[in-house]
């Protein structure tokens, strides 16, 4: 498995997707920073709170940009084996189909967490640059916990994207699916149903904004169930499908 993981990392050498994903994830904190600066310029009497800045950045990164960006990364990792005709080589080496999926899943986890860490770092940097109110080590650490938890939860929610990519062998369908989920996030956000929809439940759990109608366990179950169903369906489908 270590060798497979090494191979997966090597496949990314000189790949543009690494840079694109870094730029993509950085856009969330950057847009929030610009928005905060404009707000402050318009109403200098109302200072921008550091906690608000972190909360809004979290919303942008994990409810809007993250879903789409991590889906693109997922689609890239799996779909390139079809488009570059490399799957036939890997599977006849031979690599077991389960190992193949797991090695990519581990890489995806590392990648997602690295991007999340980068997003947090750059958010801290922008917060310091903007000299927002109420910045403290405790705030940074709380945000770190929220970000990392959300990043891991979004990684867990990548398994349906894997399934869609394996089913359609096409980036476009996965991206359309991710856009649909993002739209659903926007529709659900703020309502009690956000505790049930796995992708909005990520924020509900991270920020602890649970709803009395649905206890926290519902949110955890919705994420874990989505992960398990997505993973099992992906493995079953991939194991039993001909490589044409």
């Amino acid at each position: 498995m270590v060798n497979l993981l090494y191979a997966e990392v090597l496949k990314l050498k000189r790949s543009m997707i690494a840079l694109i994903s870094i730029a993509g994830i950085a856009s969330g904190p950057f847009l929030c920073f610009v928005e905060s600066i404009i707000k402050e310029a318009k109403r200098p009497d109302i200072p921008v709170e550091g906690a608000t800045f972190f909360s809004e950045t979290h919303l942008y990164v994990f409810l809007l940009i993250g879903v789409l960006l991590f889906s693109v990364v997922t689609a890239y990792l799996f779909n390139r084996e079809y488009t570059e005709h490399t799957l036939k080589n890997i599977l006849t080496i031979p690599v077991s189909r389960i190992q193949f999926i797991l090695s990519k899943l581990i890489l995806l986890c590392l990648w997602t967490m690295a991007l999340t860490l980068f997003a947090w770092l750059i958010t801290v940097l922008f917060a310091l640059l903007g000299q927002f109110d109420g910045l403290s080590m405790q705030l940074f650490l709380d945000a770190f916990k929220q970000f990392m938890m959300s990043g891991f939860a979004l990684f867990l929610l990548s398994t349906p994207m894997i399934l869609v990519t394996l089913l359609f062998k096409n980036y476009v369908v996965t991206i359309v699916f991710a856009i649909a989920i993002t739209m659903l996030n926007l529709l659900t956000y703020g309502s009690e149903y956000s505790a049930l929809l796995p992708w909005t439940a990520v924020r509900v759990i991270a920020t602890g904004t649970f709803f009395p109608e649905y206890p926290p366990i519902y949110s955890y179950i919705s994420i874990i169930m989505t992960f398990c169903v997505g993973l099992i369906a992906s493995i079953l489908y991939f194991k039993n499908t001909d490589v044409n």
Partner: protein, 307 residues
Amino acid sequence: MSAVIKTTNLTKQYSNQQLAVDHLNLTVRQGEIYGFLGRNGAGKTTTIKMLLNLIKPSYGQIEIFGENLFKKQREILRRIGSIVEIPGFYENLTARENLLINTKVMGVHKKNAIDEALEIVGLQHETKKLIRSYSLGMKQRLGIARALLHYPELLILDEPTNGLDPIGIKEMRNLIKTLARERNMTILLSSHILSEIEQIADTLGIIHKGKLLKEIPFEKLRKQNRRYLEFQVSNENRAAMLLERYFAITDYEVHEAGTIRVYSHIGQQGLLNKVFVEHGIEVTKIVLSEDNLEDYFSTLIGEASIG
């Protein structure tokens, strides 16, 4: 010679009821180059993909190295090198990096395995180029290098000359011959071009519409399908003696009583006839056989010729 590949009633039926491979019984013997010939869409690639466990058969058995493929898949596949259709590579990596992925995953520990494989296919000076700047011919050769990395006993090559120019085809042919000879490999080679198979294969398998129509050693086939002059004569023994004495012809056979087939001197039937007649042999019929391999295949598949 023992069988390296043996399929029994191998069948693949897709969901649309189309039979891509139909009860195929194929035997590839150790050390031979097996030419798997068929028109586009005949079922060659589907068969090869089943041999490599990329496609699951609907029915039938596959034995490779005497073991059931479905029971000992990993052990068997480790002993095989293959190219299926277009050899795929990670375009953002160099040739060496692409091969490094294979050596890592396969657990090939020999230090110079990559250099050795690249040298065999003549790509030792192109290792720093990214794959996206490789020509199709270079990719095909790199595909062979990748297939050879782990010193396989069996090489399965699906249309390895596809897209190559005439020089590339010749180079690939020589490479395959060298591998078979120097490494004593068993090679299954598929193609839709008869002349390509004819020049290197020891045994020929012809597949058409998913069925294996014929499996025959090339030597036997050539003999069956050589052009010849057939004379119907009053005394075949005397005619044979005259052929040897006057023309030094030894490549002939008495086909049946009164009929003699001459496999050389095509076009000199007049001269031969003259000698027969001058020596009192009555010639009642002269036939110039137009049979050749292409015609044989056309007849066999009942359609226009292959290649």
